[in-house]
């Protein structure tokens, strides 16, 4: 065959080889088809470890217990027991190293999340004591009269 046929063919082949070489550098080694097959599982395996390495912000009640066992035990019996400590005091991960990072939310808005009276007859909300925020002492914080750890009005104690 004549060289005018071969020459462009060489060029085309060298372009393909170049693309393959570039691809081997650009595509990560762990990229490929994994557990869930080609349709759902094509990915870079190392990314799973990256998501596992995300910093923890919220511990669990076990974490609070390590130092505050007495508090966790006592408060667990109060009507507010099911509320995670860190919903108000937190997130608390690593606060022993840097106590100033621990926030304590004592705001009226926090209490109103559950205790603003709503007409929701088909949810747990209707079983929770509710107030009307606009008329129930709007000028002061809830914690002036109610102790969030023993949620009965102080006057009644």
């Amino acid at each position: 065959m004549k060289s005018h046929v071969w020459r462009p063919l060489y060029i085309a082949l060298s372009v393909i080889v170049l693309i393959l070489i570039a691809r081997s550098f650009l595509v990560p080694e762990d990229f490929g088809v994994h557990e869930r097959g080609y349709m759902y599982g094509l990915h870079r395996k190392g990314n799973e470890n990256e998501w596992q390495a995300v910093t923890l912000k919220y511990g669990m009640v076990q974490y609070c217990k390590e130092c505050h066992a007495d508090k966790v035990e006592g408060l667990g019996r109060s009507p507010h027991g099911p509320i995670s400590c860190e919903n108000c005091h937190g997130p608390a991960m690593n606060h022993p190293d840097n106590p100033s990072t621990l926030t304590i939310d004592k705001s009226r808005e926090l209490c109103l999340r559950c205790h603003a009276a709503l007409t929701t007859p088909h949810s747990r909300r209707s079983a929770i004591a509710g107030i009307h925020p606009a008329t129930h002492h709007p000028e002061i914080e809830c914690i002036m009269c109610h102790d969030p750890h023993t949620p009965i009005p102080r006057i009644q104690l």
Partner: protein, 260 residues
């Protein structure tokens, strides 16, 4: 047409009709349980009790903090919807800021169209529905990703590789549940990771831990003794938008037909 051709054609038509019927088979959690023999020993699933949810929004707050989503940005990986159905048959749904600050007023937030007051006597049903990524068994989002950035792990969690994602938004369009958003800082697709950094360490997700009412629970479908799995296997649970065939793995207790 002779007899032979007639029989041939009939068989072809019947065979053709039977394929879509098999393909339309709806979700069967038992199948996922049986799959444990081959493959991963874990298949995560979430059980949401819509009667237990009180709309406090602690789950949304915890999620935004735990997953490093800018707190004021109008995106969230999980959210809580309020449904109000009136006696006249009208359905109102709202989720101000995704329910991040809880629901503190009876008026419905209509977004740009202001607020809607509903007479308490007119309310037939009202309840809260927490929403999150369904970590589908056939995730449409992972299927459409052109660069292999969105994928499913062996234990059923759908994740996004931020280094590979090119931000084209196909997955955001493909998800029938609207659980995906665009991260304003990383400029990549953003979604619930089922707190992959927590569940792989034996912890629960941040939203599950933050819920004071046990409205959200997480379990392993491949462990027949898991209480969450037992409830799901009872068959008395609902899923969202099953007509899309994505086989969602977030199961709902007391799901109402108005919930989409």
């Amino acid at each position: 047409m002779n007899r032979r051709d007639f029989l041939k054609n009939s068989i072809t038509v019947i065979a053709g009709l039977s394929v879509p019927l098999a393909a339309l088979e709806l979700i069967n959690p038992r199948k996922l349980l049986a799959d444990k023999v081959e493959g991963s020993k874990i298949r995560w699933a979430v059980l949401v009790d819509t009667q237990a949810c009180a709309g406090c929004g602690f789950c949304v707050k915890a999620c935004k903090t735990e997953s490093e989503i800018p707190y004021e940005a109008n995106i969230t990986r999980t959210w809580v919807e309020r449904y109000v159905i009136t006696r006249q048959g009208r359905t109102y749904v709202d989720s101000p800021k995704g329910g991040r600050d809880g629901f503190t007023s009876d008026r419905i937030d209509l977004g740009g169209e202001g607020f809607q007051n509903i007479e308490p006597n007119d309310i037939e049903k009202a309840f809260f529905v927490p929403k999150l990524c369904n970590h589908c068994e056939s995730p449409a989002c992972a299927q459409v990703c052109p660069v292999g950035a969105t994928y499913q792990t062996g234990d059923g969690v759908v994740l996004v590789d931020r280094k590979r994602c090119i931000g084209c938004g196909y997955c955001i369009m493909a998800c029938p549940y609207g659980v995906r958003s665009f991260h304003p800082v990383h400029k990549t697709a953003e979604k619930c990771t089922l707190c992959y950094h927590r569940i792989t360490k034996g912890m629960k997700t941040a939203c599950v831990d933050a819920c004071p009412f046990g409205a959200r629970r997480i379990g392993n479908l491949r462990n027949p003794d898991d209480p969450v799995t037992k409830t799901i296997m009872s068959g008395r649970v609902g899923i969202l938008k099953e007509q899309y065939g994505t086989k969602p793995q977030v199961y709902y207790l007391a799901l109402s037909r108005e919930v989409k």
